[in-house]
């Protein structure tokens, strides 16, 4: 029962994100969706993951996206983001809708779910796994994030002279 509420919230958030007319509204709907997904994680007895989800997604990813929204606005009115509607998009929309239906049905009836569901793992096991079995992956992940950071800051460098001078602390 609880799960229905959570999943309903998630779907509502997703639809709100896609069909809202303004970027900032989309963003907020998305945050709402992430909350709901974290709830779903909790219901799946994946507490650690729920925590990670909220921390990372809601705490950092959304923040970054928000900065993106702010930095790319010329004037206060420029926030429109209506979906494009033409023949092709209509067709693809219907296609995707059909896809969702088929996918869900196939998913639910997959024989994999027939077996007894084993219990969910524990957080201890999780910690054990990422630091012992998946050590390499963890390390590389760290390196990846560092590279992403460096790469991103390089990509947004500003080469205008006035900013360079300001950086160097020159007199105006």
């Amino acid at each position: 029962m609880l799960f229905v509420i959570v999943s309903g919230a998630a779907v509502a958030g997703a639809i709100g994100c896609v069909f809202s007319g303004r970027v900032a509204h989309s963003l907020l709907w998305l945050m709402f969706t992430f909350f709901a997904v974290a709830g779903a994680f909790l219901m799946a007895a994946a507490e650690m993951l729920a925590a990670i989800q909220i921390l990372v997604y809601l705490g950092s990813v959304m923040l970054v996206v928000q900065f993106g929204v702010m930095l790319t606005r010329r004037r206060i009115q420029d926030v429109e983001s209506l979906p494009t509607v033409n023949a092709l998009s209509a067709v693809s929309g219907i296609g995707v809708f059909a896809l969702i239906l088929i996918l869900v049905r196939a998913l639910m009836e997959h024989p994999m779910w027939g077996d007894e569901a084993a219990g969910s793992p524990t957080t201890l096991e999780f910690a054990d796994a990422i630091f012992n079995d998946w050590t390499m992956a963890t390390i590389i992940l760290g390196a990846l994030l560092a590279m992403a950071m460096v790469g991103a800051s390089y990509l947004v460098r500003d080469e205008r002279l006035i900013n360079l001078l300001w950086d160097m602390g020159a007199e105006e």
Binding site: V18, A40, A44, Y57, V69, L71, S81, L107, A148
Partner: protein, 100 residues
């Protein structure tokens, strides 16, 4: 206990909606957000599998996916800002350099 298949179904629905969003919008930021939505849906699927099999690897994959998604968002936004400084808007319709 929640049926793992329901969680997977939720993931499927979210995935579809996110897909729809990527087709429809020409605002780059919204497109990125929809991509994030799709990634989340995939994470839901992993968790469902972990629950069903009792295997912790599902959680590990989820954690990795979250981390990678974060990195991807950072880079994506950086590219977006470059694009914005080049063409002045973030509409994907304006990015026609690849046209024949």
């Amino acid at each position: 206990m929640i049926e793992p298949s329901w969680i997977a179904a939720l993931g499927a629905i979210l995935f579809g909606v996110g897909l729809l969003g990527t087709f429809y919008h020409k605002n780059a930021i919204v497109v990125l957000m929809c991509i994030e939505l799709m990634l989340n849906a995939a994470n839901l699927n992993f968790v469902a599998a972990a629950l069903h099999y009792g295997d912790v690897n599902g959680w590990v994959f989820t954690a990795i996916a979250i981390a990678i998604a974060a990195a991807e968002v950072a880079i994506g936004l950086a590219i977006l800002l470059s694009l914005y400084s080049t063409q002045g808007t973030i509409s994907l319709d304006a990015a026609r350099e690849l046209r024949n």
